[in-house]
Structures are given as structure tokens and as C-alpha cells.
């Protein structure tokens, strides 16, 4: 019997079988307890199944069983990288129903802190995204050095490094320290230097470009269809930002741009976030110049909040997209229904669509470029 030579056999005789790879829930590349099962053919992803819910703590149910002000803490624990932004959305929803109007100074303090929080959240993204792509800690350390300055400032203001619970319906809990303006100016200056450092480290890096350019493309139409919001949507070329297009708080008083991408790939999502940090710095510096003196809570604040019966869907532009609070009140001291519209939850639902057809290593890139917070996904 003649031995069949390897080279003689036609190529189509070699076929790979589909194979399932499980990544997570405890895996460094999944940014928390997220599990995805990849069905691969060779190294190409044919299908992806996401498993979420490992972090589900029933925050909505818990918030329905406590006073309006007590539930502020749950917002920090839901969105633990952009706590001020989440709190801002929640307290504004209450203000809409209770008819509270926060004083000017409180509005400015809130916007300054929310924008600084956006910068710290994007630093976290830049560091973690670099690590996902194998920068082996350099970007992480660079980003965390800058984030640390921001967290120090937040601690000086609110008393806590992560779980601030500083915003209140009608204003903020207490006034900022006396040296707030100088500290913010210094922190913003440092943050911009840090952003430039990361820009120089990553943007023109050949390996970084090779790993991200054209990976995980999402067309504008698909992004809208899947409910993708925030930087991921803007990277696909949709110039939409709730701060400009559906202004809340006092965002209509500031001059800033909305960075957008063209291709909707991982590289564009990175670039949009980098640009957004500089825009946030612009807003912070403008708000600092205009920061008025005065009270930080309305003069007549009821000790027990009883917002009028009704419902409101409040939405805010968080670092990761549209964060929504759907609040139903029946006039009591507790929310009747508190629904959190999580931006990461919707962004993550587009992961399967974006990953199919790419390699396994790119699945990690695409997941990293979405910048998910699993606590917000699962609530």
C-alpha cells in the first residue's frame, strides 16, 4: 500500500472541527466576573455566548426598600468607576419628581466632579486596555499614577476614595474644601500630562495599531440597533452626546466638542476616549472659572423626601454611555420602582455581533475596547 504523502492530499481534506473555549468568569481579560463561551473554528470565532449575572445583587430591589437618600450609596456600588456620574443621574431623577432646584454652586460642583470622574474612568480604561493588548503593566501604572491624583481629590471632597455618596437631591452633602480651586487646577494639569504620556505610548505604537485597527468593527446602524451608547457609539461616527443633545444640569453653558470616530473599530473607540478626556478638562476649567459662591442646598429642604407621585426617565452621559434612571414614585418615602438602565449591559449585548469572524485574541481586544463594568451590567 502506497503511503499517502502529506503534500499530495488536497487541502479541503483537512478540516478543523468546531471547538468551544470558555473564558471566565475568573479570568484577567474579562474585567470582572464575565464569562464568554467562544465557539472557534481553528482560531476564528464562529459564535459567542455571553454569561452575565454573577454580580447580580438586586440593587434595584434593595433601593425600593429604603429611603431615597439611602439608595445613593447603591449608585456608587453599581457604577464603581464613575460614581459621581451615576449619583448625578439618580439625584436628578429625584429632583425632577420632587421639584427641587439645586443652587448654582451645587450644580457647578457636581459638574466639575462628574467630569473629573469621567477622566479617572477613562484612565482606568486606557490602563486596562493596554494591559489587555499585552503592554504588560506599563500603561496600567502610567494610568493609575494619574488616577491616584484624581482619587485623592475625590477623597478630600467626599471623604472616601471610591464610595463617595456625596451628591444629595437638591445639591451636595457639604461644601468643598477651601483650596478646591487650586487643587482641581493642579489635578487637571497632571491629568492632561498623563493623557499625553499615554497618547505618546499607545497611539502611534505599531503593535497597538496592529492589534486594534479594524478589529471589532461596528457600523453606526448596528450600534444604534443594539442600543450601544457613549464612546462606542461615537466611534462609529454618530455625533451624539446627551450633554449637548439633551442637556441636563448646566452642561449647556460650556463650550466643548464631541469627538467622533470614522471606522467604529477598537482603535477609534480608544481615540474617542482619549479625546474625551481633554474635552472633560475643558469643561472643568470653564466651570472652575464660573464657580459662584453661595449655598450648596436649597434653603427649605424637607427632612423626609416625598417626591410627588409620577414617573421620570432621567438619562445622563456617563463615561460608558447612557446611564438611565427610571423612577416611579407613589408619593412615599421610598421609590416605588427604581430601574437602572445600564449602558454596559446594552453595549455588551453587541459583543457577539462584533466578535464573530475575528480571532480569539481579538475577542479580548473587543471586550476591552467596550470598557465594561460588570457591577453595572449585573446591578
Amino acid at each position: 500500500m502506497a503511503i499517502e504523502q502529506f503534500e499530495d492530499r488536497p487541502a479541503q481534506d483537512y478540516d478543523t472541527i468546531d471547538f468551544n473555549i470558555n473564558i471566565g468568569p475568573q479570568h484577567p481579560a474579562t474585567h470582572g466576573v464575565f464569562r464568554m463561551v467562544l465557539m472557534v473554528d481553528g482560531e476564528e470565532v464562529k459564535d459567542l455566548i455571553s454569561h452575565i449575572g454573577y454580580m447580580h445583587r438586586g440593587g434595584e430591589k434593595l433601593s425600593e426598600n429604603m429611603d431615597y437618600r439611602q439608595a445613593i450609596g447603591y449608585q456608587d456600588r453599581t457604577e464603581y468607576l464613575a460614581q459621581f456620574n451615576a449619583e448625578l443621574c439618580y439625584v436628578q431623577a429625584i429632583e425632577k419628581l420632587a421639584g427641587l432646584v439645586p443652587p448654582e454652586r451645587a450644580e457647578y460642583i457636581r459638574v466639575i466632579l462628574a467630569e473629573l470622574n469621567r477622566m479617572s474612568s477613562h484612565f482606568m480604561f486606557l490602563g486596562a486596555f493596554g494591559t489587555d493588548l499585552g503592554v504588560l503593566g506599563t500603561s496600567f501604572v502610567y494610568a493609575f499614577r494619574e488616577r491616584e491624583n484624581l482619587l485623592d481629590l475625590f477623597e478630600e471632597v467626599s471623604g472616601d476614595r471610591l464610595m463617595y455618596a456625596y451628591f444629595r437631591p437638591g445639591g451636595v452633602a457639604w461644601d468643598v474644601p477651601a483650596n478646591f480651586k487650586e487643587r482641581v487646577k493642579w489635578v487637571v494639569k497632571q491629568a492632561l500630562i498623563g493623557a499625553d504620556d499615554l497618547d505618546r505610548l499607545l497611539t502611534d505604537n505599531e503593535i497597538f495599531i496592529a492589534r486594534t485597527l479594524g478589529i471589532g468593527r461596528l457600523s453606526a446602524q448596528d450600534a444604534i440597533d443594539y442600543g450601544v451608547t457613549g464612546p462606542a457609539l461615537r466611534a462609529s461616527g454618530v455625533k451624539f452626546d446627551l450633554r449637548k443633545d439633551d442637556p441636563y444640569s448646566i452642561y449647556d453653558r460650556f463650550d466643548f466638542d464631541i469627538p467622533t470616530g470614522k471606522n467604529g473599530d477598537s482603535y477609534d473607540r480608544y481615540l474617542v476616549r482619549l479625546q474625551e478626556m481633554r474635552e472633560s478638562a475643558k469643561i472643568v476649567l470653564q466651570a472652575l472659572d464660573q464657580l459662584p459662591d453661595g449655598p450648596i442646598l436649597p434653603e427649605r429642604m424637607p427632612r423626609l423626601l416625598r417626591p410627588a407621585a409620577g414617573e421620570v426617565y432621567m438619562r445622563c452621559e456617563n463615561p460608558r454611555g447612557e446611564y438611565g434612571i427610571y423612577l416611579v414614585s407613589k408619593g412615599g418615602t421610598q421609590p416605588y420602582r427604581l430601574r437602572i438602565r445600564s449602558s454596559c449591559f446594552c453595549n455588551l449585548s453587541a459583543l457577539r455581533h462584533m466578535t464573530i469572524g475575528h480571532y480569539v485574541a481579538d475577542a479580548v481586544t473587543i471586550l476591552g475596547s467596550l470598557d465594561i463594568v460588570l457591577c453595572e451590567v449585573d446591578r
Binding site: 452575565i52 449575572g53 447580580h56 438586586g58 434595584e60 430591589k61 434593595l62 426598600n65 425632577k96 419628581l97 448596528d222 444604534i224 440597533d225 443594539y226 442600543g227 454618530v238 451624539f240 443633545d245 439633551d246 427649605r300 429642604m301 424637607p302 427632612r303 423626609l304 416625598r306 410627588a308 407621585a309 409620577g310 414617573e311 421620570v312 426617565y313 432621567m314 438619562r315 447612557e322 438611565g324 427610571y326 416611579v328 408619593g331 416605588y336 420602582r337 430601574r339 438602565r341 449591559f345 446594552c346 455588551l348 449585548s349 453587541a350 455581533h353 449585573d378 446591578r379
Partner: protein, 199 residues
């Protein structure tokens, strides 16, 4: 500051102003009960569950509405009044929003799925089934998403599922013999010296 105990009577629902988006819906859907109400930010449409899919389809596809973004889909439990599915819609093209709400009875919680209109509805509807037990007919894959796979008959966000009552934690009850014992709680096995002295 004295506590404000005045309870105001709930305000009557306000009809949206003429020329609002509710009028556009009403002109396009004659014969469909919309019951529009002006909410704090958006116009709310209260529709029957039989009409819900028709209203959503029109909102998505009509030239004058073009609601291409399903912002949010969630359930609410109104106890005796049944459950409610709330759709938050937005149009990127025309920059307007509307809220569509449909009541479903608790014992027969079914409504047509919106997955054929927006892919975004997929995960939201799965979550809504998890939390409220509302079955979305026509959904391709209505399996639990946030809850465990075997948790099919327990709906945590319904109001007949109260939280477990708070229990007092028994770890640190400061008794009399704590005076000389520093921060060591009684019953922890570390108060041997204090009890030997008392004997």
C-alpha cells in the same frame, strides 16, 4: 427646620400640549387608544398590550417618527393593577423621545416581543422575564440572563416577593463585663481572664 408633613393630594394626570409627539401618534393610529400623559420629561403613551407591537412598529418605521433607538425596556409591578412593560424610545434622526407603556395582567403575563424591531430588545426582554415573569412572545431565546438558569418560577422584582426581614446581628452586644475587656465581645471565647476575675 420643622419637618414638612403636609401631604399633597396626587396631581391629576396632565395631557400633553397640542402639537406634541402624542398628536403625531394619534394622527397615524386612528382607533388605537393611546391615553397620552405629559410626564416629567417625556410624553407617556398608555396602550393596550394588543396594540403595543403595532405602536412600536409604527414608531420605528414611520417617516415622521423614526424611533431607531430603544433606550430602555423594563417592567413595573403595580400589584392589583397588574404588571407594566415600559419602552423608552428615541430617534437619533429627529431627536425626539417618547415612552410607551403597556399593562399586562399578572396571571397572564404575555406580550409580543420587540426583538424583530430592535436587537437591543433581546437582552432587556430576557431580564424583564427574569425579574417579572413577563413572557415575550416571539423572542428567539427567552432564557434567564441575570438569574441562574434554573430560577424559572421566582420573580424577584415583583412586589409579592418582599425582602427578607432585617435581623439584628448578634456579634457585638456591649454587656456590662465589657468595661475592662477592651473591645472583646462576650461569647467570643476570648473573655477568659475577665470571667476568671469575677469568680
Amino acid at each position: 427646620m420643622p419637618e414638612d408633613r403636609r401631604r399633597e393630594a396626587p396631581a391629576a394626570p396632565v395631557a400633553p400640549e397640542p402639537g406634541s409627539i402624542a398628536d403625531t401618534f394619534a394622527a397615524l393610529l386612528p382607533g388605537v387608544a393611546l391615553n397620552p400623559i405629559q410626564g416629567a420629561r417625556d410624553v407617556l403613551l398608555n396602550v393596550n398590550r394588543e396594540d403595543a407591537h403595532k405602536v412600536l412598529e409604527l414608531a420605528k418605521n414611520d417617516e415622521k417618527l423614526q424611533m431607531d433607538f430603544l433606550r430602555d425596556l423594563c417592567g413595573v409591578d403595580y400589584e392589583a393593577d397588574g404588571l407594566e412593560v415600559v419602552y423608552q424610545l428615541y430617534s437619533y434622526t429627529l431627536r425626539h423621545s417618547v415612552t410607551v407603556k403597556a399593562k399586562v395582567p399578572t396571571e397572564d403575563a404575555r406580550i409580543a416581543s420587540a426583538t424583530d424591531l430592535w436587537n437591543a430588545a433581546d437582552w432587556h426582554e430576557r431580564e424583564c422575564r427574569d425579574m417579572f415573569g413577563i413572557v415575550f412572545e416571539g423572542h428567539p431565546n427567552l432564557v434567564p440572563i441575570l438569574l441562574p438558569d434554573d430560577m424559572l418560577d421566582h420573580y424577584p422584582l415583583r412586589k409579592d416577593n418582599p425582602l427578607a426581614p432585617l435581623e439584628e446581628w448578634q456579634g457585638t452586644s456591649l454587656g456590662d463585663n465589657m468595661a475592662g475587656a477592651g473591645h472583646i465581645p462576650p461569647g467570643s471565647g476570648f473573655e477568659v481572664r475577665a470571667s476568671a476575675e469575677s469568680e
